[in-house]
Amino acid sequence: MIVFKNVSKRYPDGYVALNNVDLTVPAGEMVFLTGHSGAGKSTLLKLIAALERPTSGTISISGQNIAQLKPAAIPYLRRKIGFVFQDHKLLFDRNAFENVLLPLQIGNFDSKTVASRVRAALDKVGLLKKEKAMPVALSGGERQRLCIARAVVHRPSILIADEPTGNLDVEYARDIMTMFTSFNQVGVTVLIATHDASLLEDTQHRILSLKQGKLAA
């Protein structure tokens, strides 16, 4: 469960990205976060992974207040979360397999199971046949899917995606939304930030809209 209480985030230059946000996302829910660029979507997601610290308020994830987390504890928080980045953040000197392997190396997973786990994740996003491919050789949609595979390979309880369908055409975007739905169906809490209205048309999931740092109903 993710709980925000009176969370504000003001950047050193005075810009207020979030203003007194209250928010509760129960475990296992799938939630969309919309709003114009600059409305604070990315900031909100980054606060959850402790990539940013709130100026005030408390954020708790499964009962743990992450606003007061010691720096040494932050890596362990991030391992519970799968993050799909807007700009993918893939390593271009490693092939698809090795990119997906990274979270397992970081998390000290048992070496006997890692290869099968990586392949399972690649299979879920339809990239099993491209495990040896370098990211440069992949299309935009494939890179996005590779990023998703890396985000789920260590079976996080929370999956966060920042504009996952950013530059993709409708067909690809729908594929990717189906993937997120299937992760949610096995119990993963999913948060997706998007400004793509077409994704939200026929969804039954909750939609939160951010406007100038405040949550609208």
Binding site: Y76, R78, F92, P103, S111
Partner: protein, 303 residues
């Protein structure tokens, strides 16, 4: 968990080796620079160890030779002998007659042909005197005293050169210490810079690893391995450079020793010293990497 940890270290180790091999010219150059830097103090140390063992072969207690006058008679000999027996600072002494001395000279050195041509024995009778350890002033005083005896032509301080050598070796040790300190600092600086450049080129990897939950030690590890492995390789390079010099010098020494009909050759570092050299240089590499990592990694925070 333990196995996962070991696997992780093995992975980083081989990954680091691969990285070193992937840039062979750069790696070889850095290793050579470290090797040369380390080979300087190591080489001097090796030379000194050899000199030390040479002086160790010679008498370890102070020793003087008393040469009697050429025309010394039996009663001259007796008087000197009695005075020597009375002198408390003398531990022991032995008499070498001129005949024995000549025979020894013929056997020991390659001058047998020259000796055979002599019509008479040019050598004097002599006493070899072993003394108590004492300050060089006290020994000098005793030498002067014995020199003043009328039967004695000349007193020679045989072990004087050992003392001079020891003083020189002492100086050498100080030089080594200074050189080693300076060059160690240089090696740490080289490693610091190498790792700094690597951190810059691996910025993305570091940032992404932090984003997905890498601890600091996970991120430090490849750089520390790199520093340690390169330091070790530098130590091995230094050992090889010194070995090369020794074998070249030994060839020259062989010619020289052949002329003097003696057996002199230089020894490389002992096994223990060799291991110490490797450990020390690996530590230097690690230290340079550690300082660099501590100085640069905190600057890379994901946002």
């Amino acid at each position: 968990m333990m196995r996962a940890w070991l696997t992780q270290h093995a992975f980083v180790f081989f990954h680091t080796l691969k990285r070193l091999i992937a840039t062979p010219v750069t790696s070889l150059l850095s290793i050579t620079v470290m090797g040369i830097a380390l080979s300087l103090p190591t080489g001097i140390y090796v030379l000194m160890e050899n000199l030390q063992s040479l002086s160790g072969q010679a008498a370890s207690t102070p020793q003087m030779s008393l040469f009697l006058q050429q025309d010394a008679q039996q009663n001259d000999f007796n008087r000197v002998k009695q005075r020597l027996q009375e002198e408390s600072r003398i531990v022991s002494f032995q008499f070498i007659s001129k005949e024995v001395a000549l025979k020894q000279l013929q056997q020991d050195s390659g001058l047998a042909d020259v000796m055979a041509g002599l019509t008479r024995n040019p050598l004097p009778d002599a006493f070899i005197v072993h003394l108590e350890h004492n300050s060089s002033d006290a020994l000098e005083q005793l030498r002067a005293e014995m020199q003043s005896w009328p039967e004695v032509a000349h007193v020679q301080f045989d072990s004087e050169w050992i003392e001079r050598l020891n003083a020189l070796l002492q100086l050498g040790r100080a030089v080594i210490l200074m050189l080693a300190t300076l060059l160690s600092v240089a090696i740490i600086a080289i490693m610091f810079n190498t790792i700094r450049l690597q951190i810059l080129t691996k910025r993305d990897e570091i940032e992404i690893s932090k984003l997905i939950g890498a601890t600091d030690s996970f991120i430090h590890r490849p750089f520390l391995y790199f520093g340690t492995i390169q330091g070790l390789a530098g130590g091995i390079a230094a050992w090889l450079i010194v070995a090369l010099f020794i074998s070249a010098l030994n060839e020259e020494l062989g010619v020289l020793a052949g002329l003097y009909e003696v057996d002199i050759h230089l020894q490389h570092l002992s096994l223990q010293d060799s291991l110490s050299l490797q450990l020390f240089s690996a530590w230097l590499g690690w230290l340079g990497a550690r300082i660099s990592v501590a100085n640069h990694l905190w600057q890379i925070e994901p946002r």
